[in-house]
Subunit: 193 residues, 4 copies
DNA sequence: TATGAATGAGACTTCATTCAT
DNA sequence: TATGAATGAAGTCTCATTCAT
């Protein structure tokens, strides 16, 4: 019982943190507000996280994990390349649509000092394994250009993120046809012609 | 001499602000630190900017302007489309190389509340007029896909930004050939096939 | 012990505030100085009062309550009118003598914006119920002039306040006979002749 | 010409100060706002007043002088006592009606540290010479009670001030009859019976 | 004499963190 | 282990005053 309670408290705090960040950004997150939202005392937070920076690291990791799961949802290695690509692209896009806060704060998460810690980066790498496998396989088959995975990603999926963010912020509207055209265009960027 | 002392001081403050933001992000920018870095008293800042928010607006505008100038440097409308595209792409890339701070914090600037003020957005639109003309002309000639300029930009130049940032952060190394390949790849994204 | 620690701290702060205001007026009251005088940290004040304005409201209320209690001390409705009047008049006078700070700053308290809030005024009305009853009864009996209570008060007790203040500030000296004469004179103002 | 200009500037500053104080109280008076309102540079104020405190002293004196003039307006020593009394009482009352700011800020002026400087007090004494003569004459004739002038004033004219202030602040309404009754009542306070 | 840009101390307030309970 | 009152450094911003022009 008690061991579960601990885990729950930790999760409670992380969940509350994510919620508050989504609502009011990082500047809006104070430890007292967090304590209140999580339903614990301020001092309790410090039993699970050494300090605010550590807490933020963990929040970021949690969010990355959720994004990774969402992006790779429904994708399996035996699907055709193009189908996998479209699926992940749309997963990213829909993530933005259904969960604007998360995506719109992604840049905030990326701006955090911890984002560059080697440890954190490796973890994220692992989480996006499916993406890596897609690129590796595509290059092996000669479908994709022989470029570093990071670059292929920057040319394709990052466009999805960028476009989704601008879309969420209301820079423009996209109908289904235009969305499809954007997917095809980003596909053009990484395939050989 | 005396007539542009004011202007100088304003510039001093803006330059110092940009430097500090580049070094430690927005959270790291306090008015006291800024005053010290700019070599003025804290109160002096308030002669030129009504409050911190206004200051940040202006920093953002200055950075946007610098980026716009740098991106469009050397580009003229009578060059061939491809040459213009490569030039701007490389301008972005080199901007990141020579001025890591500016580019690496671009996302932070975009997260600022003011980034969505209509006024600010229109100004940025004007600044990137050359980019808009490139896309317009390319679509007219049937070279580019018939997509919204914002989307074409997201598919091509934003990739440059993304790749340059990751490169600057040391995620990977790129030799000249790989760089050239990346440019060609992003070009593939926007042209008709 | 622990249950009334909070109350104590609140009282500490209010008492310190009253003292500092008495010493140096409202302009002299800074939150830092108050914290020091109260023996707490600056931030602690904000656990008990949302901001300076709220603090000042509460100080005012406390002072009003103390004055009301002191003024009406020992007075009961079954005493003769004149005796009640003299008692209250002297209570005011003695309050000034024993507690110069409080009385000498009464005008300052009255200048506070909160002094005109309906809520606050009603409270004060209740506190001076004894005074109101005195005037009501006196008018009923035909002893007092048929004037509004506020006006009767302005003609009689306010004179006590005014004279006590000037006396406390050293404008003049008053022996017991003169004091008695002043009471009788103010009594003359409100009775029918 | 130049000597007049100096005087003008000084007056300009004092007038602007009074206006701003009437509008927003003492807390609202900053030297920069004052400079702007007076149409001079901030530094200029310091050519005429050694510091803010000195400036406030002078403002207070000016206001006292204006009040003294207003109070004694139309009163001459050859009028009957009662007429003089009524005239001055009404002068005070009307001053409050026509110039609420001045009267309502009187308490603020009285709270100023300088209000107790001997120098200032003597000056005010002189200004209210007419009042002093009224009381002296009245006592000589046996009409007034043989009390100190300060006390007679506290029993009579101060009531006028108090009532006028509360009236101006909206504590109650007074018609002409009630006003007349109040004057008579305060007269009762100081005459022998 | 007049200016007004510059100063920097100090105002109010927030908040990450600690520690006695 | 959990609490939450207390802390005090640091934040943004104001303003009386000075001084080079």
């Amino acid at each position: 019982m008690s061991s579960n309670t601990n885990i729950d408290k930790r999760e409670q705090i992380l969940a509350a943190a994510e919620k508050l960040i989504a609502e009011s950004g990082f500047q809006g997150l104070s430890m007292q507000k967090l304590a209140k939202e999580a339903g614990v005392a301020a001092g309790t937070i410090y039993r699970y996280f050494s300090d605010k920076e550590h807490l933020l690291d963990e929040v970021r990791l949690m969010v990355s994990r959720r994004i990774a799961d969402a992006v790779q949802a429904g994708v399996s290695d035996d699907m055709p390349l193009k189908q996998r690509y479209r699926m992940m692209w749309l997963n990213i896009w829909n993530l933005a649509a259904s969960n604007i806060d998360t995506i719109s704060n992604r840049v905030q998460y990326e701006s955090l000092p911890c984002a560059n810690k080697r440890n954190t980066r490796e973890l994220e790498r692992e989480m996006f394994a499916q993406v890596d496998r897609l690129f590796a396989e595509g290059k092996e088959q000669g479908v994709f250009k022989p470029l570093d995975n990071e670059i292929l990603s920057g040319l394709s999926f990052e466009a999805s993120v960028t476009l989704a963010r601008k879309h969420a912020l209301g820079f423009y509207q996209l109908d289904d046809d235009a969305l499809d055209a954007a997917i095809e265009a980003s596909w053009d960027a990484i395939i050989t012609h």
